[in-house]
């Protein structure tokens, strides 16, 4: 960039690189710069997001029109995935279902909010030149990409991709094709997450700019901090579970295989399934959900962080109850480790244990209510600026509210008897992650785009993107709640088989059309994303008149981020301070200014 940057970076070694005198592939491909890695994460994850969504659109055709041959894509899919008449096969449905879940959670949303936004924004927001371990950061991305490619390649391998659901319950997963590759992919993804989380925690603790105390951290950084701890401590048990299941599959151990199984009329052990038994299918579920429940908060906490940033910036006032929000998410993080078995109420656990987990589940809902209430109260007395990112952040609030509230009937074991494993569950968590987290991701993209590119995205296209997306999200997911109340089991290839399915088949039709229109509604976003990078309106370093440190760096920030060292003098969101003419007071502006 400028001479100043040049000077401050003289004498780089091979690892940390100059921004300008490196070959293309070192600068943009095998870079160790957190910003390049953040962008790599974002783009890779957006591609996987689209891919995961495409799988679902194919499944939605089968659900809307059971048994009808798939138009166009039917002829692209291999014989295992479609029937002879080119309609989606039951195996194909299960493959797509399992991979949709896996891709969306592990390859799209978490990499976007943590790998993408976390990488790009956290060092900037804390005034650091980079992550604490830049090369580890790159290793994390490449491990993620390898895991993603392994998952993707599994579609083309013998036996196909995994088809036992993203939860991979044993013994089904142990005896089903495609699972070994899935497990190998998971091990790579887990490794990536672990490397990333170590890096985030060290960065946030060690590399904060002078004056940036913990309670002056932007809420987004707090969210990433808690998230990193969840990833650090919750993923290893899944890794352990993956190792054990891998052993079950390739070494023939029986960790998750009980005694006395008769699979397809064959008494185990057989040559193909040499399991002698003695294991416990529930062990897998405990290990899996010990990760996967904190994983839910990994999906939602950074999203809350993004929304908080966008809300504070566009209401032009400080967040209401910043400290209580911070305490709430720390509490949320702790509690998320002792609620996992509420996913297992129907496994026949004793009532005492059920009640323990129901109680912790009710308790964990309180901090979520605190955060949501604080965000809504932050709107009070605001001077709202309705730009695209704020629209998405605003929409996040009621959508997340529906997602959170519908969790209550599932958290109580008695009402869960009727709703467990029905479409109600699907509606519930999709309200949290689709119009919840994914809207937050969109808000983040619109918000930080000028920082990354130096240009703004089109407001008009932003609105054309927002309104149909908001409507379609509800058209897709609200009917699922009705279907669930009727008692329709999830993962049902042909809903018409059941009475419950027939009673709510119309809603499948509605949901499916909602999904396809939602896909069309993403076209303006894709155009906006690429077109604005070259033709968007050029803007200043701080186009949103924001207070946090990332806006003190040039847009795009050079290698090393800041032109001169930054210090922090105040809380993160000093907007509209009384007695000052300007309606924002950046964190790094010295008071005597």
């Amino acid at each position: 960039m400028s001479a100043a940057t040049h000077g401050s970076h003289a004498g780089h070694d091979h690892g940390a690189a100059h921004g300008h005198d490196l070959p293309f592939w070192r600068k943009y491909v095998f870079s160790v710069d957190h910003k390049v890695i953040g962008v790599q994460y974002t783009i890779t994850a957006l591609v996987f997001l689209l891919f995961g969504f495409s799988l679902m659109m194919i499944m939605r055709y089968q659900l809307a029109y059971p048994g009808r041959p798939l138009p166009i894509v039917g002829s692209w899919l291999g014989p295992g995935l479609v029937n002879a008449d080119r309609s989606l096969s039951p195996d194909g449905y299960n493959v797509f279902g399992a991979m949709h879940g896996t891709i969306m959670v592990f390859l799209a949303v978490v990499p976007l909010v943590v790998g993408g936004f976390g990488n790009y924004v956290v060092p900037l927001q804390i005034g650091a030149p980079d992550m604490a371990f830049p090369r580890l950061n790159a290793a994390s991305y490449w491990s993620y990409l390898s895991g993603g490619l392994v998952m993707f390649a599994s579609f083309f391998m013998k036996g196909g991709a995994a088809q036992s659901g993203w939860t991979s319950y044993a013994p089904l997963a142990v005896i089903s094709p495609g699972q070994t590759v899935w497990l190998l992919g998971m091990v790579l993804l887990i490794t990536s997450s672990l490397l990333g989380s170590v890096n985030f925690i060290v960065t946030i603790v060690q590399l904060r700019a002078p004056g940036l105390s913990f309670f002056r951290l932007p809420f987004f950084v707090w969210a990433q901090f808690v998230t990193a701890f969840l990833l650090l401590l919750a993923f290893p048990p899944l890794e352990a579970a993956a190792i054990l299941q891998l052993m079950d599959r390739i070494a023939g151990t029986s960790f998750f295989m009980p005694t006395g199984l008769v699979v397809s009329g064959q008494i185990l052990p057989t040559e193909a399934l040499p399991h002698t038994g003695g294991g416990s299918p529930l062990l897998w579920q405990h290990l899996f959900w010990f990760l996967a429940h904190p994983e839910v908060y990994v999906l939602i906490l950074p999203a809350m962080g993004i929304v908080a940033e966008v809300v504070a910036n566009n209401t032009r006032k400080p967040l209401w109850g910043y400290r209580s929000m911070v305490y709430a998410i720390i509490f949320l993080g702790f509690m998320s480790f002792i609620v996992w078995a509420h996913h297992m109420f129907m496994t026949g656990m004793g009532t005492k244990l059920s009640l323990f987990f129901a109680t912790t589940t009710m308790i964990i809902s309180i901090p979520s209510v605190v955060v949501l209430t604080a965000l809504i109260l932050s709107l009070w007395g605001a001077a709202m600026r309705f730009n695209s990112q704020f629209l998405f952040a605003l929409a996040f609030l009621p959508m997340f509210a529906i997602g959170g509230l519908t969790g209550l009937p599932l958290g109580l074991p008695a009402s869960d008897i009727h709703l467990h494993d029905t479409y109600y569950v699907i509606g519930h968590f999709h309200y949290v992650v689709a119009p919840g987290t994914i809207f937050a991701i969109f808000a983040g993209v619109y918000h930080w785009y000028p920082k990354v590119t130096g240009r703004k995205m089109s407001e008009l296209l932003g609105r054309v993107h927002f309104w149909p997306s908001l409507i379609c999200m509800n058209v897709i997911f609200l009917p699922m709640l009705f279907q669930g109340l009727q008692g329709l089991s999830r993962r049902t290839y042909d809903p018409l088989v059941y009475d419950a399915g027939q009673a709510v088949q119309g809603w499948h039709f509605v949901s499916s059309w909602g999904a396809w229109i939602l896909a069309i509604a993403q076209i303006p976003f894709i155009i906006n994303f690429f077109w604005s990078a070259v033709a968007g309106k050029k803007v200043s370093d701080n186009p949103w008149d924001a207070t946090t440190l990332e806006w003190a760096a040039p847009s795009p920030p050079p290698h090393g981020n800041f032109l001169k060292s930054v210090s922090v003098y105040r809380d993160p969101y000093v907007y509209s301070p009384p007695g000052r003419p300007s309606d924002f007071w950046p964190q790094n502006q010295p008071p005597e200014d």
């Binding site: 096969s89 088809q163 319950y169 013994p171 089904l172 009980p258 006395g260 199984l261 008769v262 008494i267 038994g277 416990s280 299918p281 209401t315 032009r316 006032k317 400080p318 129907m346 026949g348 009532t351 059920s354 009710m362 809902s365 209430t373 809504i376 109260l377 709107l379 009070w380 007395g381 605001a382 001077a383 709202m384 309705f386 605003l394 009621p398 509210a401 509230l405 209550l408 109580l412 008695a414 009402s415 008897i417 009727h418 494993d421 029905t422 109340l485 009727q486 008692g487 089991s489 999830r490 993962r491 809903p495 088989v497 009475d499 027939q502 009673a503 709510v504 119309g506 809603w507 509209s576």
Partner: protein
Amino acid sequence: MMAGGYSLWLPVDVSKHGFEIDRLIYALHILMAVLFVGWGIVFAYCLVRFRQRPGHRADAVVIKAKASKYAEIGVAVFEAVLLLAFAVPVLARVKNQFPSEAESEVVRVVAEQFAWNGHYAGADGVFGRTDPKFIAPDNLIGLDPNDPHGTDDIITVNELHVPVNKPVIVRLSSKDVIHSFAVPALRVKQDVIPGMTIPIWFEAARLGEFDIQCAQLCGNNHFKMRGRIHIDTDAAFAEWKKSKAPGEAPKVSEEDFQL
């Protein structure tokens, strides 16, 4: 057949305990609606009132919103009430307070990919021994032909009959993977875990024929794992049992041969 249905709420309930579950679901949805509308009103008011416009500046002085604290406390109290007053008693009754076996109809259900095998004890009231080595197309649960208790046992596939107004105990087990025995109309759901026998119980209050669904992904034909449960009068139930009781071994003639 009512393909294209647009049902909005719970299905018919034919069990004696189901109303308690339904009541809890009602109460929860009312709570959810109250909270959502409450938030929504504040939200909508803010959107209208606090827009950016010339001459309007955000009020950075933090409002003292006692309301939020009350709301949070209210939610916590309400959840506690739901948990203790509604959820706990239902759970205790459904899961723990089993009727005595003598007063109930006991059925074994052996799940497999992709069928529900029913097993009734027959006239002697004792279940025959089972062993995988006897599994055959006419003996899907592997009933031991040498066990005298088993000779009168009734075996069904995807078809259960139970008497109305009498407690029914279902002992669930699985041959292969995890299934989930779900009867929405009876508000019954229980995962079937291989290696375990898990009993559940219910009492039907109305006659009819309803779906048994598998609620846990169990393989490629998971969707096809549909059984029917018939709730019969005592007389009809006895009649059905009699009609299903195995009689003399059938005489096979060459007419029965088809390659």
